[in-house]
Subunit: 186 residues, 2 copies
């Protein structure tokens, strides 16, 4: 069968973001069985219902179409101020509107923090948001990286061996998770 | 003494938002003892650490300065997808950065929903975010309006009598809450 088509979404717009780097490592590690494309959400404007009524912005149409044509979504979520980033939530707010491509879509979440939180609170908030828009989140394994600076090398490539092993396990579980829903459709 | 200076922030950018309308009703109801200015957060760009390093955007400098020169903040929070709006979270993410004017600032939160949620989940998420940035939130009374369409008239003015009485109680408590922190400073 064809490789599973995954849309990777990072909640950080920073070029050197650990979360974007984590997505890049996931692409490398799973290239035999997942086809992960990273979607850049930096062009999605602030959600305003009045603008939506005048016409959905091109960048939002593109984003929704990229979601719709993927088998599943892989989120890399930084934690800002004990929640998901405003940037990521804003993208979800747009995507969730009329004919939401999020509805019924399988997803998984992972996160990397510089400190000790491991983005646990952001993941908890995200799970509530996900349930509200009917994204179907994989529960386990969890992937919450702490002290990320020690796990990535100077080129922002994940090199920590035990983390790579855990990411591999996570991605294989995510493949199975996605297949559940693809098979249901066929 | 001078009237207490309050910055009112709506989490919705929609012109006819119930939450913005609620702020306007609060201005009218408390004009003898609060001086509430509504701050429009629509010009704040998506947070990007790389842009921040190049220079903080003018709109963010203005927003932070408006927060810093206020005695307290009054948030009107819609609930989108079981959380605060991405737009509001994004504004908080910017304001919380270096020399955060949110640090130690008293605030109160209110919210209006079209349905039955009363924005309770968004308020719960906001309290976690607020504690993270050391905004000092008033706990009670709560203000969570349900079925807002029945409470506002055709010009989007709050006309429901029992809601007006509750809002009056809420705003007087908010005045006392703010005074606690002003008096501490003097």
């Amino acid at each position: 069968m064809d490789k599973i088509k995954v849309l990777g979404i990072s909640g950080s717009l920073r070029a050197d973001s650990f979360n974007t780097a984590l997505l890049k490592s996931a692409i490398e590690l799973s290239k035999e069985y997942l086809n992960i494309d990273i979607y850049d959400i930096s062009r999605i404007p602030l959600y305003n219902h009045d603008h939506e009524k005048k016409g959905i912005p091109e960048s939002v149409i593109e984003f929704k179409s990229a979601i719709a044509s993927s088998d599943s979504l892989l989120f890399a979520l930084p934690e800002y101020n004990s929640s998901v980033t405003g940037v990521l939530k804003n993208a979800i707010d747009w995507a969730s509107r009329a004919e939401s491509p999020l509805n019924g879509k399988p997803c998984a979440i992972m996160g990397a923090s510089g400190g000790l939180s491991g983005t646990a609170v952001a993941q908890s908030h995200f799970r509530q948001i996900a349930s509200s828009v009917n994204l179907i989140c994989m529960n386990v394994p969890k992937l919450q990286l702490r002290k990320s600076k020690s796990l990535f090398d100077e080129n922002n490539i994940l090199t920590d061996q035990s983390t790579l092993e855990h990411l591999d396990k996570f991605l294989k579980a995510f493949r199975e998770w996605t297949l559940n829903f693809i098979n249901t459709k066929n």
